[in-house]
């Protein structure tokens, strides 16, 4: 059966691999025709000829000089195909492969597959009107413009020529009866279809047209097959994946298992140094799949789709030597959701302890406290090697935060923040958090006054500090209320919060630990606020106007301590 399947190979370098693959195919009983680029060094070519001299069914066709993306490749392919059809009348299917293709299954499997589909042409052939994979913007224009310059060697001229023709509205007409299609060059055609293409009666006119098209080797056979084929299955039997630039992915030794499990017949492109792949797939494999197993390329598809995702979108919250997104191009400013609390440790006794007891989150103190980083448990060095030194942190507060969140992926981080903390230049840190959808920021405004009140000092001593903190918090609230804020932000004045503390606590908690029974959890205890109203009045009497707390009556009454949330 293998004798009914012929292989045409287009090769230009790495000929020792060509010799290996051609020998493997020929020894399986299939005829092989090789076209070697005329620019391949003569010594290399002679070596290839010598290496294959003992195989009568390996032939070499007339050599022409090939250039990427040009008509020469079509001519080379036609020479090879013609020699194949003329020399081996028993051949019913012809499979095209390149010097970097590697058979992944015994030839008999492919031959059996084709015998099951005797009249089908397997050629990826997509109408140019519908393709979306062409890179560089040229699809239909491949056929309607002129391409006098080589894309790889004369890129500047190539681009200018395209621009100029667009400006002049230059347009070539497609020959009558042809609908341009493009697709992979690595096809498998029936003798009938291939013969009809080679014997095309309107050949001179069609040739003239394709000679001037761009990358005709991806369109000539694909278009002509549409004319002559009885039954097209628009896919290539050769497994090949392309990266986001449209360059083919390369297979290496470490892809062996992936390729083995794909059950595909042929793969491209394989690195010429991949000794293990060549050794494995070009030997008698005891682990070969059953002869009628269908190819399953989806695993490989996923593997490379993930890679493209990493190249194009990157990992959220990662800043490193080869990924440093400009503002708003981060695809995720931070790695994980986190919670920022402002005013809670001031209002509640042991808020940190309470929160870490009732949630699975890591609860820090004021990470941005002016003199020291207050890591959970007041560690000296935290995850990833972050130091509690304030000067290291303040050197780049934003990087400190992104590092922390990156280093603790998988564990929610909560920390306290406030107007007394390091803010970064121009509230840079808060602006960053406010614009980050991962941040949950909860603020009880004016709560900074509670520690002042509890310090026992007199209002006249605290007046300046109170004014400073109020000024900073006012600016912070401005940042949080700006239209650029995308974080989950909640702001209460102290007065609002105290009216019914359990409601806000409930909703915050639901976001941090959605699966916990929040309503069953004991509320943390509020600090003693007796006399706070009078303290505020004292500040007013000193000429300072505390406003961020909201309307506080002179004699405030605590809500009943110890009640349950909701």
């Amino acid at each position: 059966m293998s004798a009914e399947l012929g292989f045409v190979m287009l090769v230009h370098d790495g000929l020792h691999r060509t010799a290996q693959v051609a020998r493997y195919l020929a020894e399986s009983g299939s005829p092989v025709v090789i076209h070697a680029d005329a620019r391949t060094p003569a010594t290399d070519f002679r070596q290839l000829q010598t290496a294959l001299a003992d195989l009568p069914d390996v032939r070499f066709c007339r050599r022409i000089a090939c250039e990427w993306g040009t008509w020469s490749l079509v001519v080379a392919m036609r020479h090879a195909a013609r020699l194949m059809l003329d020399s081996f009348p028993q051949v019913r299917h012809v499979h095209a492969l390149s010097g970097v293709c590697l058979p992944l299954r015994p030839v008999s499997h492919l031959a059996a597959f084709l015998a099951r589909n005797p009249d089908t042409d397997f050629i990826e052939s997509v109408s140019v009107a519908d393709v979306n994979w062409t890179k560089g913007g040229l699809s239909a224009e491949r056929f309607t413009l002129y391409f006098p310059f080589a894309y790889k060697r004369q890129r500047w001229l190539f681009d200018r020529a395209v621009t100029l023709q667009r400006a002049l509205h230059i347009r070539r007409d497609m020959p009558e009866g042809l609908a341009p299609h493009i697709g992979s060059q690595w096809w498998t055609l029936t003798r009938r279809t291939l013969g009809a293409i080679l014997d095309e009666p309107a050949a001179p006119q069609i040739d003239r047209f394709f000679k001037r098209a761009w990358i005709p080797d991806e369109s000539y056979f694909q278009t002509m097959a549409r004319v002559h084929s009885r039954q097209i299955e628009s896919r290539s039997l050769t497994l090949g994946k392309f990266d986001h630039q449209g360059k083919p992915h390369v297979f290496y030794d470490d892809h062996l298992q992936l390729l083995r499990r794909s059950d595909c017949f042929m793969a491209r492109k394989v690195w010429s140094g991949a000794d293990r792949l060549y050794a494995h797939f070009l030997s008698d494999r005891p682990d070969a799949p059953a002869v009628d197993t269908e190819p399953q390329p989806s695993r490989i598809d996923r593997h490379f789709a993930r890679a493209t995702q990493q190249r194009v979108r990157g990992r959220a919250g990662l800043y490193m030597v080869s990924r440093f997104p400009v503002r708003n191009r981060e695809n995720g400013k931070t790695a994980e959701p986190y919670s920022v609390f402002q005013g809670f440790t001031e209002m509640f006794r042991d808020f940190e302890e309470w929160l870490s007891a009732v949630s699975a989150a890591r609860v820090h103190g004021h990470l941005f406290a002016p003199h020291k980083v207050e890591f959970a448990g007041r560690e000296k060095v935290f995850a990833g090697g972050l130091s509690d030194s304030a000067s290291l942190r303040d050197y780049n507060p934003r990087a400190f935060l992104t590092n922390l969140l990156w280093a603790t992926r998988g564990e929610r981080q909560c920390f306290q923040f406030g107007p007394a903390d390091t803010q970064g230049r121009n509230y840079d840190l808060l602006s960053f958090m406010a614009s980050d959808p991962n941040a949950q920021i909860s603020v009880i405004s004016g709560a900074w006054a509670v520690p002042l009140y509890r310090s026992g000092q007199r209002a006249e001593q605290l007046r300046a500090e109170a004014a400073r903190l109020q000024r900073i918090e006012t600016a912070m609230l401005g940042v949080l209320r700006s239209p650029a804020a995308h974080a989950r932000i909640r702001i209460w004045t102290m007065a609002e919060f105290l009216e019914n503390p359990s409601d806000p606590m409930h909703s915050i908690f639901d976001e941090i630990a959605p699966h916990q029974q929040a309503r069953l959890i004991q509320m943390p205890e509020l600090v003693d606020m007796q006399g706070f109203g009078a303290f505020l009045q004292d500040l007013r009497n000193q000429g300072m106007q505390p406003v961020l707390m909201g309307d506080f009556p002179l004699g405030v009454t605590d809500p009943a301590p110890g009640h349950r949330i909701k």
Partner: protein, 341 residues
């Protein structure tokens, strides 16, 4: 106006680059060739360039490591070693060796010498410029040697690959370890910091400036600006017009620095230079370095740092990560495979 300024800026950098090239020509007089095997360099070879002084202990593994990666020729500038390292290098069949007594500091930390060798032998080749205490890793390096990497980069017209210099350190005082020549330094220095790096984009040369790691954490907590620069551009498809700007941290023309990272959210392929500075010998070497004062930048400010090193401190902490291989570093985002899956 803005355009004019940009033009003037471009011209200034161009002059700077040309000056550096001239300097390299001038400084080549300080080099004396001891062994020249460069005739053996083949077309697709990846070359390793290295200046060193008294690194005999590290050399056996250094050579083995880069040979295993697929480097085919080494070009060494020996800055007057007296520990037998030079003789060792001269015996290597794949190494060419130059000798100089010139000042390391006055030749911009050896870069002027290497610059000349890069011009002379590196043009249009893939060149790896590293220190003797730097071991390059990149994703899949265990199954895809350097030629696989450079072919892949060439196919995409990517002219350089960046790397983070990752400091490895032991657990316990630096001088309490034992290292013998030929041993993998990562067996002794098993730990690293995985996420305490800061990045600034230097807008004038479009390069990233990464700092941090254990040296900042332990020695420079109160002056983080002086933290070591950890950005590196070790692997470059060299052109005789290229120059390294300061050490191998950044390059001219400036566009080369832009090739290293993606600023639209994606990840480019990058590697890691394992820095094996903290082998036990660093303690005595620091005494020598301090007195030689040949360090990068203002040598005076490093006195405190050397004093600290001479005390053989312990860089390890509970937050340190044990190094287990490239997959771990890739997973931690220390380096990235980009699209090279």
């Amino acid at each position: 106006m803005k355009r004019l300024r940009a033009l003037r800026e471009a011209w200034r950098w161009r002059r700077k680059r040309q000056n550096r090239l001239l300097r390299a020509l001038w400084k080549r007089g300080e080099l004396r060739c001891l062994v020249d095997r460069t005739a053996a360099i083949g077309a697709g070879d990846v070359l390793v360039f290295c200046t060193l002084r008294n690194e005999a202990l590290r050399l056996p593994f250094f050579l083995a490591h880069y040979r295993r990666l697929g480097a085919t020729h080494f070009l060494f500038v020996d800055n007057d070693s007296d520990d037998g390292g030079r003789e060792l290098l001269m015996q290597q069949p794949d190494a060419s060796v130059w000798h100089t007594r010139g000042s390391y500091r006055a030749s911009r930390f050896g870069m002027d010498w290497l610059q000349w060798l890069l011009i002379r032998h590196g043009h249009d080749r893939w060149c790896l410029t590293v220190d003797a205490d730097e071991l390059l890793l990149y994703p899949h390096h265990d199954t895809r040697p350097l030629p696989a990497l450079t072919e892949w980069l060439d196919a995409r017209a990517i002219p350089a690959m960046g790397a983070l210099m990752l400091e490895l350190y032991p657990k316990g005082p630096l001088d309490a370890q034992r290292y013998s020549a030929g041993q993998d330094p990562a067996e002794v220095l098993q730990w690293y910091d995985r996420a305490n790096y800061t990045i600034t984009r230097k807008s004038d040369i479009d390069a990233l400036w990464i700092q941090g790691g254990p040296r900042s954490r332990v020695f420079l907590a109160d002056r983080p600006r002086q933290g070591p620069t950890l950005t590196k551009v070790p692997l470059v498809r060299w052109n005789r017009r290229h120059v390294y700007l300061n050490s191998t941290h950044s390059m001219l023309p400036r566009g080369m620095n832009r090739e290293i990272y993606d600023d639209q959210g994606g990840e480019k392929l990058s590697g890691v230079l394992l820095h094996t500075k903290f082998l036990p010998q660093v303690v005595e070497k620091s005494t020598e370095e301090k007195s030689r004062r040949q360090h990068f930048g203002d040598p005076g400010i490093y006195d405190a740092y050397y004093d600290a090193l001479i005390q053989a401190p312990d860089l390890w902490c509970a937050a340190s990560t044990r190094y287990t291989g490239w997959r771990q570093l890739e997973g931690e985002g220390i380096m990235s495979r980009g699209e090279w899956a």
